[in-house]
Symmetry: D2
Subunit: 332 residues, 4 copies
């Protein structure tokens, strides 16, 4: 039985607690939050779990094997580093840290102490991303050349970071899971609207190794919620709509042919069938918790480990740099 | 009765012909197309209209008052200039010309000869844009700070221009109609995918006078057709979906308040009612033709005249320049 | 060249005229309408076609080979019978006639005079119905056991018949095309709401030979337009949504298994992939006109001939009888 | 503090337990289920709650004030009657009982012993139904003349009752909440498809006092999930789509006018604006639990008490009778 302590019982912490409770081989043994009202909620929901106010106390508890960090981004580094140094395996809510320097230090520390360091890139563990990874690996789309994602809604769920650090991280981790190709450049534009101090809308244009291009649109100031991604290959195209209850992924047998393009009125494009494969509906966070437990138990490397987390923090930092410099393309 | 000659009976010409035929006070007197098969189609559809192969012949016809140019972009300048010089009023399919130099010359010539020069910015004449203009002018949205538009589908409808010159022009003309504010900067990224020589996907970030920001996503390589625009004001927000048969415009009484943002878990945002006003369903091109006839008859300035056409060509040129220079922000 | 005269240039007539004009081997030679303003519209649109006010004159014209009847239902019989007796082939807008007695007389007359008698059951000629017929014939759905259709919107398009005679006829003709099984019983309920004299909403429950059941919901008083049909087979199920621009037919690899149903909490149901085959987008009415011309030219029996039209009129009559008798099941 | 015991921890029981736990003034003190595996789930989720196998034991517990019955329909009567006789207030999952005789006996017993008897007609406690009730009461729709509801999906969630007893009860309780008019007649058709012993698809046509008509379509054999209701008034119409995350209710300023209906081509119908009011998103079951507690604490009559439950059971029985007799209209 792996004994786990959870730090942070705010927005995401309760979801982690619920899933950790249901993960075989795992015991949620302690929860820390420095807000009394959140501790009260945790206590009423989990009367059998030890609730503390001080994260240090939890980290120092010799009875715990691992720590899950679900606090605001600015504290990820300090808490995770302390936990690794205290000999704990660590699962950190995304993004891994507030800077690449911090993230790299965490990777090094975990490597040195042989602790599991995993980032909760939740989307990488959805049934939809698993199915798309399988589709792309099988070559159904042909060579993937373009990815375009819209991730917008109304709300500000993070006070200390821009929308890029909150929402774009999802697309970066999906791209990482789908293609396993390094990011090469990033360019960003954005705006701080409606009186916000931080960017609440942003557009990123990315290039990956091999020339593939990606665009990511994130926003907290949209009146409607959209989670839609288009992946274009030279054989087929797909649309992934995360808000669709049933048909999350649709693969279109459609394409454009430019081979013999004369001065005709209309292009040679092909409209064929559409196909929506069944997608595993298991909650992604259940998969995250199970994978973390599995890596601890059998010593494996997490699919979204420190290095993956570090790469994404590097892209986020570069995007922020581009944003601040008027949209200059930044090479990674 | 205003006697009009139409040059070009390819993709858009037939729509213009049909609407010109139905415009009171207008007679479609001649159609020119240099392709025999298109002339045959025109002749069978309009046995009473004179059909010629040579545009010069039509332009030189003293019996015509006006000429409508619906040919490929590269020929807009030459044909329109010849028509103005022959004393005709001119309606040109969008964009006005292939370069700002050409567009400016047309504006000057029309001004000099006191001819009506109008651009067929079709979207500016839709019921939806009219309704949105009214809503914004009335202050329902408050101060408009952000516009984000997606205009994607599968297809290549122009052989001589990139997707920016084909599709982004729609959003530029909508922005022009809605806000009547000059464009200040543009930044663009894009790609030539699936073997295309010209950009078939692009993203534009624009700034307008007064600080308002706009983003436009255009693509010919999307498996699904989307025509969706979000307009954000500091009081309300709206979504305009041109593919919705009935509720094209939805106004959301939603907003975010940052006034007293403490370190709370969730932002102070407001979710209120939604309202979809009835939108006039008259075909936009019918309004275009009627407005052209009206300007000729009563000597008015078209709402989308030479100057409006020139401004948009300048933005398109600047966008193309940004695209070619790796995404540099270009000031207009 | 088959010379055709069209009677009726109201709502549907113009669509027939446009398609007849474009049908190879067919010449639209005359149009009759007893309303001067409709004749004016016809004349301006087709200056080369002879326009008359009196249907008799058209029917008696020895230069015509065939007549298309697109008038109100109550006049279908008289005009079609006169045309057959005048030696013309006849295409009648649906439904064939206002009663089974009339319809049977038309069938007999056409049979006797060896004239083509065809009903414009438009939906039977759509790409979607053709594709569904192919899917069912191939056995993809297994044994088809249930059909449920919703055909509702706002509007009254016929003044002399109830919504059953106007809209349910579409579903009856689709069922006929898909399954080729005789109707056995019909039961109907309905209402005359908002001050209407005739039923403007109705529900039909039908049984076909072999035990298959169908339900049809038609309405003119719905605030939204819906055209959705579910076809349930014992292997797969499909949904046909005629308002979907692209994916009109979706086949679901879903089912329920009752074999080993113990007192479990949830049933053994199967959620598999979904598949949307490409559907031919050619306008159905073009197919109707081409098929009529083909039957005349080569002497074939129309797929929706007099007998098919008669069967549907019998069901409509029985439905009306059930409606008037408080929902009694009527055997055909 | 009201101490409550819950009988049944199958499909719905866990939702009741979760909401009872969160209801102020209520303590979930005991859970009974005769299946060991369900008791194990309950125990792991609520270690502080007493878990028993025998419902009798729970009912006989003098420390409990009230009992919630969430078992299969056939056992509702016996358990609820025993609880009332043991002096408990009772909340029963819908429908109240398996027959009108049983339901009437429960009503009488609760009346006699002055116990609160409430039925969990969950939909009557949704924000959407509350909002529609308000809209109708305010007269926004004018006189309501027609209600049409579609409630279909894939699945069999009850083993001992037909789809009518499972799903139609929702619409009956919504109608009851919206209009507070007695049901007068019911007529039903249905089918037992795919090898089922019980009806898994059904259509009900109902008449309410004053002539209003309603139609309800329920099915367990549809490949897609639909929860859509149309309410037609003589001033406006509304559509309620329970699957819409945000705009559940849309009110259409649309109507048809038959006053001066000449033999025109198109009816006089009116297409105006659409309006989607904000709907309270609180979980309906939370409202159910709070209302039950409130009625116990202050002695009020539940909005969905025994009489309301009895009326609905009477309609269900009559619908089943109509179904079995070939669709005969049954008067209530």
């Amino acid at each position: 039985m792996i004994r786990i302590g959870l730090i942070g019982f705010g927005y995401w912490g309760p979801n982690l607690a619920r899933n950790l409770m249901a993960t075989p081989g795992v015991a949620l043994a302690a929860i820390a939050d420095n807000r009394a009202e959140r501790r009260a909620v945790a206590a009423s929901r989990y009367p059998q779990v030890r609730i503390v106010g001080d994260a240090e106390e939890l980290i120092g508890d010799p009875g715990l094997d691992a720590v899950v960090v679900a606090t605001s981004v600015s504290t990820h580094f300090e808490l995770s580093m302390a936990a690794v140094k205290a000999g704990k395996h660590v699962l950190v809510e995304k993004p891994l840290a507030a800077s690449a320097v911090e993230a790299a230090a965490l990777v090094e520390a975990a490597e040195h102490d042989q602790r599991v360091l995993m980032v909760d890139h939740t989307y990488a563990y959805t049934g939809a991303v698993a199915k798309m990874t399988e589709i792309i690996a099988r070559g159904d789309l042909g060579e993937v050349c373009y990815y375009d994602s819209i991730r917008i809604n109304l709300g500000l769920f993070q006070n200390d970071v821009s929308v890029i650090w909150d929402l774009a991280v999802h697309d970066l981790s999906i791209l990482q899971a789908l293609l396993r190709k390094p990011f090469r450049t990033v360019q960003a534009s954005g705006g701080c609207h409606l009186g916000s101090r931080l960017e609440n809308v942003a557009h990123l244009t990315l290039e990956l190794e091999g020339g593939m291009q990606a665009h990511v649109n994130v926003s907290w100031i949209a009146p409607v919620k959209i989670r839609q991604t288009i992946v274009v290959g030279d054989r087929q195209m797909l649309v992934y709509d995360d808000l669709e209850p049933d048909e999350k992924i649709k693969i279109y047998d459609r394409g454009v042919s430019f081979d013999a393009q004369p001065a005709s009125l209309l292009p040679e494009y092909r409209i064929g069938d559409m196909y929506a494969p069944r997608v595993d509906r298991r909650e992604a966070l259940a998969n995250v918790c199970a994978h973390f437990a599995e890596c601890i138990a059998h010593g494996g490397r997490p699919r979204t480990g420190g290095l993956e987390g570090l790469e994404i923090v590097r892209v986020l930092e570069a995007a922020q740099e581009s944003l601040r410099s008027g949209g200059r393309q930044v090479t990674l």
